[in-house]
C-alpha cells in the first residue's frame, strides 16, 4: 500500500521490474536460440564397470562362475554343457537339440507338468538353446528360492527319464515349429548357407530339417545324454546377489553327485572356406521377395582379429548408416534392408551379408553387395567411418549386458569360447585401439570375395532375373539340389 502512495518509487520499481523481466526472459531467450541450433557435444565417456567374474571348479570338474549384481532380488543361472549340435552323430543331426529340449520334460518322480509347476512356483522361467559348440539351460528365478531352483535343476539334469510319451510330444512340437520356420525365407537362407559352407564338417548338423526327428529313438537320447551330460564339460554361471563362496557351497550341495566321465573329444579342425563364388537359388514358392544371404568362413571366436573385424563389419553393414544399407536401399532402392554380420563358433566364424530385395534386381543386388566388400578390401576406409563405427560399437555394447540373463549369457559365452573372465571388461579399450589401417589389414586376410550366395524366393519370379550369373544351382525348399543352370540354360 505504501508503494502506491509514492509514485516516484513505483516508477523506479517498474523500471527495475522491466529490467528484471528483460534479464530473466529475453536474454535467456536470445542465448537459447544459439544452443538449440546444433547438437551439443557429448560429455566424456563414462567407464564400463562390470561386476567381477569369479570361478572355481567342484571336485567332479563342474565349473562354477559367479558375477555379483545387487540391484534386483532375482538370480539368473545358466548351465553350459560344452557339447552342441556339432556333437550329434552324423546320421542323427538334431539329437543334441532334441536331448536338451527333453531335459525339462520329466525326471525321476517328477512329471513334466510337475516340473512346470515347480518352476513357476519360484517365479521361474526356464529355457533351452542349443548352439553348434554348446548347449545352454537358462533359468531365472526369485533369489529367495536358490535352493529350490538348484534342487529341481539337479533332478532334471541328473535324473531325466526321457519317457517315450514325452519324446512323442517333443517330436510333434519340434516338427511343427521347424515346419513353420521352414516357411520363413530368412530361416531357410541361413540353413542353406550353413549346409553349403560346412560340407564335410560336423557343423553341417545344424542345417537339419523337420524330417530328422522321426529317426531319433529313446536309446539314442540316453546314449547322447550319457556321453555328454558330464560335469567335467559343464559350467554353472550365476548372476545375482551372491558371492563365489556361497555359490560353490549351494551348487556343490545339489550337483556334487554328478559323475564325471572323461570323453575322447576330437579336435574339430577349421572348415575350409569357399574359394569360388557359388550362386544357389532355393525355391520357396509364393515368396514375395528375394532374400539374399551370402557369406564365407572366417576365423574362430578366440582370435586377435576379432576386434578389427567387427569394426570392419560395422562400417560395411552394421546399421542403417553403413555402406551396404546406404547403397542398396537409400541410393539404389533395391532393398528393404541390407546388413552384414559376423557369427562365431569354436572352430571358425562366418561373415555374412543379408538383404531382402525386389526379385527383378536380385542379380544387381548381389553384384552391388560384392562391390561394397571389394571397396573395403581395395581401399582403406576413412578414419571418419572407422570412428563412427567405433562409437556405435562402444555405445551399443552395454545393451548386450543390460538384463540379468544377458549378462549371464555373455559370461557363458566367454566360458564356452575359453575367453578370460575379465574379457568383457576390456571391450572399450579393445575397440578404441582399432584404426583404419588395422581394418584394412584384416580385410585382406580372409576370402570375403568368394562367398556362397544363397537366394531364397519364388523360382517363377526370380529365375528370369538370374541369367547374368555364370552358373546357378537350384535347390528345393528343403535344401536338396534339383539341377544346375549354366549361362541361363538348364543342365
Amino acid at each position: 500500500m505504501k508503494l502506491l502512495e509514492n509514485k516516484q518509487k513505483t516508477s523506479i520499481i517498474h523500471k527495475l521490474f522491466f529490467f528484471l523481466i528483460l534479464l530473466t526472459f529475453v536474454f535467456p531467450l536470445l542465448s537459447q536460440e544459439r544452443f538449440r541450433k546444433s547438437p551439443p557435444y557429448p560429455d566424456p565417456l563414462n567407464e564400463l564397470n562390470l561386476p567381477k567374474v569369479e570361478s572355481a571348479p567342484l571336485s567332479n570338474g563342474l565349473n562354477v562362475t559367479v558375477a555379483r549384481r545387487e540391484n534386483l532380488p532375482l538370480i539368473s543361472l545358466q548351465l553350459v554343457i560344452l557339447a552342441g549340435e556339432s556333437s550329434s552323430p552324423e546320421n542323427l543331426p538334431g539329437l543334441a537339440t532334441f536331448t536338451a529340449n527333453m531335459i525339462s520334460r520329466g525326471a525321476v518322480n517328477l512329471s513334466s507338468s510337475k516340473i512346470e509347476e515347480i518352476l513357476e512356483s519360484i517365479g521361474g522361467n526356464f529355457s533351452t538353446s542349443t548352439f553348434l559348440d554348446y548347449s545352454l539351460f537358462t533359468f531365472t528365478f526369485l533369489e529367495e528360492y536358490l535352493d529350490e531352483a538348484l534342487e529341481v535343476l539337479s533332478k532334471m539334469i541328473l535324473q531325466p527319464t526321457f519317457l517315450k510319451r514325452e519324446i512323442v510330444n517333443e517330436k510333434r512340437n519340434m516338427f511343427y515349429s521347424l515346419r513353420e520356420k521352414g516357411r520363413e525365407p530368412e530361416f531357410v537362407a541361413r540353413r542353406q548357407l550353413f549346409k553349403l559352407l560346412f560340407q564335410n564338417h560336423s557343423y553341417q548338423n545344424a542345417a537339419y530339417t523337420e524330417e530328422v526327428f522321426r529317426n531319433i529313438s529313446q536309446e539314442d537320447i540316453f546314449a547322447y545324454y550319457d556321453k555328454y551330460y558330464r560335469p567335467n564339460i559343464a559350467s554353472v554361471v550365476l548372476v545375482g546377489n551372491l558371492n563365489l563362496r556361497i555359490a560353490i557351497r549351494k551348487v556343490s550341495h545339489y550337483l556334487n553327485t554328478w559323475k564325471r566321465k572323461e570323453l575322447d573329444r576330437r579336435f574339430i579342425p577349421l572348415p575350409a572356406p569357399s574359394s569360388k563364388e557359388k550362386i544357389c537359388l532355393v525355391d520357396l514358392p509364393q515368396a514375395k521377395d528375394s532374400t539374399i544371404y551370402l557369406g564365407n568362413i572366417i576365423f574362430p571366436r578366440n582370435n586377435q582379429d576379432y576386434f578389427p573385424f567387427i569394426v570392419l563389419n560395422q562400417v560395411l553393414g552394421g546399421t542403417t548408416g553403413s555402406r551396404l544399407f546406404m547403397n542398396l536401399r537409400e541410393s539404389k532402392g533395391y532393398a528393404y534392408f541390407a546388413f552384414s554380420e559376423v557369427e562365431f563358433f569354436r572352430s571358425c566364424g562366418i561373415f555374412m551379408l543379408k538383404a531382402k530385395v525386389r526379385p527383378e534386381v536380385t542379380y544387381f543386388s548381389v553384384r552391388e553387395s560384392l562391390k561394397e566388400i571389394e571397396g573395403i578390401i581395395k581401399e582403406e576406409v576413412s578414419s571418419f567411418e572407422v570412428e563412427q563405427a567405433k562409437s556405435y560399437l562402444i555405445g551399443n555394447f552395454p545393451f548386450k549386458i543390460d538384463t540379468f540373463e544377458n549378462s549371464c549369457y555373455r559370461i557363458s559365452e566367454a566360458v564356452a569360447f575359453q575367453l578370460p573372465n575379465d574379457y568383457w571388461n576390456n571391450y572399450y579399450e579393445n575397440i578404441m585401439l582399432i584404426n583404419a589401417e588395422k581394418v584394412f589389414e584384416v580385410a585382406q586376410k580372409y576370402p570375403l570375395l568368394t562367398p556362397v550366395v544363397i537366394i531364397v524366393g519364388d523360382k517363377e519370379k526370380i529365375m528370369e532375373h538370374l541369367g547374368e550369373f555364370e552358373e546357378v544351382e537350384i535347390y528345393n525348399s528343403k535344401g536338396e539340389l534339383q539341377y544346375k543352370q549354366i549361362k541361363g540354360v538348364d543342365k
Binding site: K37, P40, E117, T320, S391, D402
Partner: protein, 460 residues
C-alpha cells in the same frame, strides 16, 4: 514405422489409472515441493532411489540414478492418447506420434532417429488409448543430445502440409497391411465396441482410412498445441548420470518451453454400467472360428483390482495356470488363446480370445472357461497355488525395473496413473497381500452372466 508393435508390448505394463482427468488432478495435487525425495519414506521397500521435481512450466521430472552400466534412458510421456480424439478424427494421436519424427525447428526429417542410431542408442515411441510415449536409451555421456532432440520437438514441431500428407499415407498403408495380415483384427475392434461404453474408449488407436484421410493440418496443429505442452508431460531420466548435472541440463533445454493452456477434456465415461451382450460376427477374413469373452471389472488400482490381477495369474498366466492346463494341455480344446486384464484410463476389462478347430469346439471351450470361473466362486484357491501365482506376479513386477529403459517406462507410467510416486513402496504388497477369500469375492462380484460380453466368430 511399426510403432504399434511396440505399443502392444507397452500395453502390458501400462499403468493407467483411477484418476479423473490427469490434467485436473495435477493441478489439484500440485504444487509438489520443488524437490521431493520420494525415497525417504519406506526406503527399504523402495526398490531404487528416485527423486521428483517440477519445472516452472509444469513439466514433471523424475530422476533415478543407476550406475550399473554407462547408459541412460530418457522417456517423455505425454498424457494424451486415442481417448482424447473426437469422433471423425480417429487416428489423430497416432498420426502425431509419427509426425514427431518428421522434423522440428532445428532437427531435420528423420534426423532424430539417425542421431540416436549413430551413437549406438535405441529409440522408439508408442501410442495407447491413454498416453503417448517417446523413449530412447543412449550412452550416458550423450544425455544432452537426447534433451536437445526431445525439447526441440516439444517446443516447435514442423507440422506442414507435406509432412502430414506423407505421414497419413504411411499410416493408411499400415492400417491396410494390418487388416490384410491379421484376419481377426476386425473382430477385436468389434469386441471393443461391445465391451467399452463410448467412442472414446472403444475406437482403435490406429484409426481407420476414412477418418485419417479427413484429418486436416489444422486439426494436427491444434492437437499438438493442446497436448504436447510441458504441463501435460512427464520426463523421466534413469541411468548413469549425476543428478545435479541432469537437472541443470533439463532446466536448460526444457524450462523455457512455454506452458500450455490446460485442455478442457472431452467428456468420457468414468465407470461402467452393468451390461451383458452376446453377439455373433460372421467374419469374411477369418478361417478359424473362435470367441471373445469379456467382463467389465473394477477400475484400475481400486481395492478389487489388485485381487483381480492375482486372479489373472491363477487363471491364465504360465503353463501351470488353470485355463492353460484345461484348454490347451489337458483337453486340447483351443488352437490358440490369449487373455488378461486390459486397462484404458479409468476403465478395466478382463478378456479372453480363443480360436478353436471347429464350431462345436467353440461351445465346449466356452463352457470349459465358464466352469473354471464357476469353480472359483465357491472353492478357495489353495495356499500353494496362490503362492505360485503371487511369485509369478512378483517376478513380472520386479522385471519391470530390470533395465534403465524399463525402469523409466515404469516410473512414468506410475506417475501418469497415480499423479505421484508415493504409492510405489507399498504397491507390490497390495498384490502380495491378496487372500484366497478375496478371490472368491471378486469372482462373485464381476464374473456373472449379467456382466458378460460374448462375441462369437463364425466363419463364412
Amino acid at each position: 514405422m511399426l510403432f504399434l508393435k511396440l505399443m502392444d508390448r507397452l500395453k502390458q505394463y501400462s499403468y493407467l489409472v483411477a484418476v479423473k482427468s490427469l490434467l485436473i488432478l495435477l493441478l489439484i495435487l500440485l504444487p509438489f515441493p520443488l524437490i521431493s525425495s520420494t525415497q525417504d519414506q519406506n526406503q527399504k521397500d523402495f526398490p531404487f532411489p528416485v527423486s521428483h521435481f517440477k519445472l516452472k512450466n509444469g513439466l514433471q521430472v523424475i530422476l533415478s540414478e543407476d550406475n550399473s552400466l554407462p547408459l541412460v534412458s530418457v522417456v517423455i510421456a505425454y498424457n494424451v492418447g486415442s481417448i482424447n480424439e473426437l469422433q471423425g478424427k480417429a487416428g489423430l494421436a497416432y498420426l502425431l506420434e509419427n509426425l514427431m519424427f518428421q522434423g522440428s525447428s532445428n532437427v531435420g526429417r528423420m534426423q532424430h532417429i539417425s542421431y540416436i542410431n549413430r551413437i549406438g542408442g535405441e529409440w522408439n515411441a508408442a501410442t495407447t488409448e491413454d498416453k503417448t510415449v517417446y523413449y530412447q536409451t543412449v550412452p550416458s555421456n550423450q544425455l544432452a543430445l537426447v534433451f536437445w532432440l526431445e525439447s526441440d520437438r516439444m517446443k516447435n514441431l514442423e507440422i506442414t502440409e507435406s509432412n502430414v500428407h506423407r505421414t497419413k499415407n504411411s499410416i493408411i498403408e499400415e492400417v491396410q497391411h494390418r487388416r490384410a495380415t491379421d484376419p481377426h483384427l476386425e473382430s477385436f475392434f468389434a469386441f471393443d465396441r461391445l465391451i467399452f461404453p463410448d467412442f472414446a474408449h472403444s475406437h482403435p488407436v490406429i484409426g481407420n482410412e476414412k477418418e485419417i484421410n479427413d484429418i486436416a493440418v489444422e486439426d494436427v496443429k491444434n492437437f499438438y498445441s493442446t497436448f504436447y505442452v510441458p504441463n501435460n508431460a512427464v520426463l523421466c531420466v534413469v541411468g548413469n548420470v549425476d543428478g545435479e548435472r541432469a537437472e541443470e541440463l533439463i532446466r536448460k533445454y526444457f524450462e523455457t518451453i512455454p506452458e500450455g493452456k490446460v485442455a478442457s477434456s472431452v467428456p468420457v465415461q468414468k465407470s461402467f454400467d452393468k451390461k451383458s451382450a452376446s453377439e455373433t460376427l460372421k467374419d469374411t477374413l477369418a478361417s478359424i472360428p473362435g470367441f471373445h469373452l469379456g467382463y467389465r471389472i473394477a477400475p484400475p488400482y481400486s481395492r478389487d483390482y489388485y485381487t483381480l490381477k492375482i486372479l489373472e495369474y491363477v487363471l491364465l498366466r504360465g503353463k501351470s495356470s488353470r485355463l492353460y492346463k484345461r484348454l490347451y494341455k489337458r483337453e486340447r480344446l483351443v488352437y490358440d488363446f490369449s487373455a488378461g486384464i486390459e486397462k484404458r484410463k479409468d476403465l478395466a476389462i478382463f478378456k479372453l480370445f480363443a480360436l478353436c478347430n471347429n464350431e462345436i469346439m467353440v461351445d465346449i471351450s466356452l463352457r470349459a472357461v465358464l466352469s473354471e470361473i464357476n469353480k472359483l466362486k465357491s472353492t478357495l484357491v489353495s495356499e500353494k497355488e496362490l503362492t505360485k501365482s503371487k511369485n509369478m506376479f512378483k517376478m513380472d513386477y520386479i522385471k519391470q525395473f530390470e533395465t534403465s529403459l524399463e525402469k523409466a517406462l515404469f516410473l512414468s507410467d506410475t506417475f501418469l496413473s497415480h499423479g505421484t510416486l508415493d504409492v510405489l513402496p507399498l504397491e507390490l504388497n497390495k498384490y502380495l497381500n491378496v487372500e484366497a477369500r478375496d478371490i472368491i469375492s471378486v469372482v462373485n462380484r464381476y464374473f456373472n452372466s449379467d456382466n458378460r460380453i460374448l462375441l462369437t466368430i463364425k466363419i463364412k
